[in-house]
Assembly symmetry: C2
Homo-oligomer: 639 residues x 2
């Protein structure tokens, strides 16, 4: 910084008054059209049998969660997604909302619910045809037949296309023979497989008359009612985990396991009575992506449940931060923790981000729900990117919330610690986050190339010229007044500019790396692709919250705008190095953005607890004693 720049250091703008919080309106916005089912689930979870219990063995915990699942299934929660013809409601949005709400209570319950109704039942719905629906959905949707989604294998891991289990057509018997080709190729990490599952949707390479038609799914009975494995099946228990121990993850090995021809889920490819393989999808690549399309809805709900956990943790930590007093300018313990800037900075941008991401995911649900089962690269890419962004965010936010509650946060009864152990696997399951960011980034690059080849060099050069112009405009790059920084158009402009430049740069670098060494090219640009995916998600999330700001009434719009500003400023602050390297932001603006984060925190501070009321988590479900008691003077009975 030169001395003249130093002289121009901006003074922080005065903190604006906090907007009022219309809790009912905020809750209505977050609940959306599914408020009915959400309220129903919330109400059910306050019943005494759902009381949180800690310190059980993982064996006992699995049974408790199974009991909870059956209890909720008795109300038809598992059938929300099922067509009316089979006793359901045909409402995927209601199903996703119920799933998301369960995650306020217990993440093992939410995941067991997701395995049974999202993955297992979902695979029958999406990949099966009428016979499968009529035969299996009635028992599956009531939780009477517990199922397993047997996709993952130990050996192939994230590389689903190269999984090794085979299903070979035996024309003589009109059966498929399922085989685990070697001991390390077993199915692994399958929810419901260790104890409760009786049938599995098994993903396998389909071999018919010596031809491999790629990955297909078959329904395979794995366990009898008495718990013993079916013939040819070996079952294993994945064992004790860091968290999520209420889900009975297990392993399956297949040795010459036979199922009838009809058990192939044959909507996108099957073998007729004549023994001939037919598929409505010509391209085997497109068929593969359609087959694993069941994961797209799963990824969206993984994001939604991660947010439920984050909201619980933030609601607890913010309540504690309002009550717990430590130190004080004049001695004694007079200062609520939430008055400390470090405390505010750890909790309040996260609070804003959790709401912004909730709105972004809801918007994605709006696009996904009407076309479920259809391949849509943009929805798939965004589901992947939002899943990765949201779960990494959740991991950080819950860690910070735990730490903000000190030792109290480390106690199981205060719940954040339990959420912390559970949430770690969110970054891994339904697709490793690193792999998912690359999936999104590669999609963006493909789109970019198409655009480029369609519209040509002129447009690309135009875009670059625009960017360069902006960058060379020191007025914009240094503009530091708060009205400018809070202008949604300039906020979005910055996010768009970053994404476009990163896309340009990634394409350019990839081309250069391909020339140098095609086999190493992807390694060379991998970190750029990760950054590009993050930039894309933040731009999309900003657009989503801004739409709601514009749509909101006067009782909600100022609050939503503040949440948007907080999300934006803290996202830019995390990436200031890049923005400054690119010349998009210069020192005065960079400093003003840091001040803006502080000011947003100060504005949010008095209303933070009210905002968490907008999540509508019932006190019985939130449950943590530190969220209720006056934290410095609480009374406890000795055990």
């Amino acid at each position: 910084m030169t001395d003249s720049a130093r002289a121009k250091r901006p003074a922080p703008a005065p903190v604006r008054p906090a907007p009022s919080v219309d809790v009912a309106a905020l809750r209505a916005l977050l609940d959306g059209p599914e408020h009915g089912i959400r309220d129903f689930v919330r109400q059910r979870l306050t019943e005494p049998q759902f009381r949180h219990r800690y310190g059980m063995s993982h064996h006992d915990y699995r049974e408790v969660v199974f009991d909870w699942l059956r209890d909720l299934s008795s109300d038809g929660l598992g059938a929300l997604h099922v067509p009316e013809a089979y006793g359901g409601k045909g409402d995927i949005r209601a199903f996703m909302a119920a799933f998301e709400t369960l995650a306020y209570h217990d993440l093992s319950l939410a995941i067991k619910f997701g395995v049974q109704y999202g993955l297992f039942q979902g695979s029958i719905l999406l990949l099966g045809t009428e016979w499968h629906h009529a035969t299996f959905l009635p028992a599956v949707s009531k939780g009477e037949l517990l199922g397993v989604f047997a996709m993952s294998e130990l050996g192939s891991g994230s590389n689903v296309r190269d999984l090794e289990t085979t299903a070979t057509w035996d024309a003589a018997q009109q059966e498929f023979v399922i085989q685990t080709p070697h001991p390390g190729a077993h199915k692994e990490w399958l929810g419901n497989a260790a104890v409760h599952g009786e049938m599995a949707t098994v993903f396998a390479q389909l071999h018919v008359d010596g031809t491999n038609h790629g990955v297909h799914a078959l329904l395979v009975p794995i366990r009898r009612r008495d718990g013993s494995p079916c013939p040819g099946i070996t079952l294993g228990d994945t064992g004790l985990k860091e968290g999520l121990n209420g889900v009975d993850n297990g392993r399956i090995w297949f040795d010459q396991v036979r199922v009838p021809r009809t058990h192939l889920l044959d909507r996108f490819g099957g073998v007729g009575e004549d023994g001939v393989y037919r598929s409505p999808i010509e391209s085997s690549a497109r068929r593969f992506f359609t087959m694993i399309g069941t994961l797209v809805g799963g990824r969206i709900t993984v994001g939604l449940t991660a947010l439920s956990a984050t909201k619980s943790a933030l609601a607890i930590a913010i309540r504690y931060g309002n009550r717990r007093k430590q130190f004080g300018p004049e001695g004694g313990n007079t200062t609520p923790l939430l008055d400390y800037r470090t405390h505010q900075r750890r909790l309040l941008p996260a609070l804003a981000t959790s709401i912004v991401l909730d709105i972004a995911l809801s918007k994605l649900v709006d696009r996904f729900a009407p076309t479920e089962g259809e391949s849509n690269r943009e929805v798939e890419g965004l589901a992947a990117g939002l899943k990765a962004y949201t779960t990494w965010f959740a991991q950080r936010a819950i860690t910070d919330a735990r730490e903000c509650c000190g030792g109290q946060g480390y106690l199981a009864e205060n719940r954040i610690a339990v959420l912390r152990g559970d949430i770690d696997v969110w970054t891994t399951f339904e697709g490793d986050n690193t792999v998912l960011y690359q999936l999104l980034a590669k999609g963006l690059l493909t789109e970019y190339k198409q655009e480029f080849s369609e519209i040509g060099v002129i447009r690309l050069l135009g875009r670059r010229a625009r960017s360069a112009l902006k960058a060379m405009n020191p007025v914009t790059a240094r503009k530091d007044d708060e009205d400018h920084l809070r202008d949604p158009a300039q906020q979005l402009g910055l996010l768009r500019d970053r994404e476009e430049r990163m896309l340009d740069a990634a394409a350019r670098r990839l081309r250069a790396a391909m020339k140098k060494d095609p086999l190493r090219a992807m390694f060379e640009v991998q970190d750029h692709l990760m950054h590009l995916a993050e930039a894309h998600v933040e731009r999309v999330a900003h657009e989503a919250i801004q739409e709601q700001v514009e749509r909101a009434g006067p009782s909600l719009a100022p609050l939503l705008a503040l949440l948007r500003d907080t999300f934006w400023a803290s996202a830019i602050e995390r990436d200031l190095g890049w923005f400054m390297m690119s010349g998009i932001i210069e020192t005065p603006k960079a400093k003003a953005i840091r001040y803006l984060v502080n000011n947003c925190c100060e504005e949010l501070r008095p209303i933070a607890e009210e905002i968490t009321d907008g999540f509508g988590i019932p006190p019985e479900v939130l449950a943590a004693p530190i969220a209720r008691r006056t934290a410095n003077s609480e009374q406890r009975t000795a055990k």
Copy 2:
């Protein structure tokens, strides 16, 4: 960035060949003069009774850990620190090394060891006098009398000076009466209190004849051999936690509990037979800091044990990353995970940082050990800062290592997940990290003010002029060749420059904020203080590793230099926003530093596993199956 800057974008320098790893020399460096005790503990931990076990109830786990503790105490490990006159070795360094080594095995064991021998026994050693030593050390040092370090209270939390328990002198009976003044003021989070502790060092406000002499420590029996509480004592169980469940944390309430006059640990203040309070330390503030000086050694070992856990996690994840193959440029699963840049960037800077911090902590031990018990603000500040920096680093690194092992990392048997649950509380206990960073930063500001008042304005202005000169020197700020970036003098220059500017800025801001509103001043500058503390720790750590580079022989120096470069480049990269805002670094140099992190990762990649061999963790202790098997083809037996 202007177009001319764009044209000057540096090409990444070619990756240099990896230095060779002299595992024996690296291990000798890390083990230091205490290699004998380290080898002894390592050897003991390979015995079959120390095999890792998972899935026990926390009640059973506590008993297993107690058995382990007694087993190790039988060898005199608990007496290492005790003077030879009482059967010990009088060797604080050996004690700390043993403690650090135990943390490779099980963090609950390490902490129970630390509670008994570091905190409880340490308080008798440091705060007691001859009678206490002769009376209690023999039983305590053998683990025959389990003790509790009863400092924390629920109400006062981090604010030890304002704790509420009282010890009131009863002249008539020549006794002290210990009292918990209200139910929320009980002692909380005390290791050994829930089940095994029989005596406690109780920190209480000492009242003599109506005068409060501040916080003092007394030895108070709390539990009889049969497990029942002593008269007037109420004991509670803190309960199930996120991790560390092998330690029986508990609560204590005191109701008119009486101990003889001699039970006051009276080295720094006591009551004579005449009932008069006397202290060798005049200032009550200095007396307080001396009393809680027992925490300084504790903070250093907290840092060391966090590093042991991190090294275990990295050793496991790097072994897995070398064996596990996923995807590949030509299809199939042919690429070891560690070939991916994202994977390298998550594990290898952490590997370098763990060694740099190890060396920095060892240097602190060198300064601390000879003067243990003496108040030394610089050692106290650095112990606080390194504890905070190291434990936050450990939390991130273990989270990343877990994630780099995917689902396998989430399994208890692969250990990282267990370490993850344990390590979270490291950021909280022995002083909340946020509080500790402020302690360090305030110490630096005090020093700065003293220097300023001693040497005056001239020197300060000189320093600023130097900084400004450097900043205005575009040659240095833009210099981007790798030889320049790897020059330790310029590296240290950058770190020093940052620290000095932050110190200047923090002092200036604090002055301005004090003028505006003295009661809010600390809140206003809190985030600057946190940043200053971090900058200080990174500068000190860089100096420590550079000393070792200079001292090392030719078989080790190139490796240590690479570890230094990696630590430095990744630390600067994390804070690029600040460096660019300050004008110390401009775009070309910033980009070159990003490339340098990539290049350092590439250089470390082929030798990463060998480097972890330098930690000397025995395979029986590392234990994780994924660190041994070929990860894609492992064979498992079903349960």
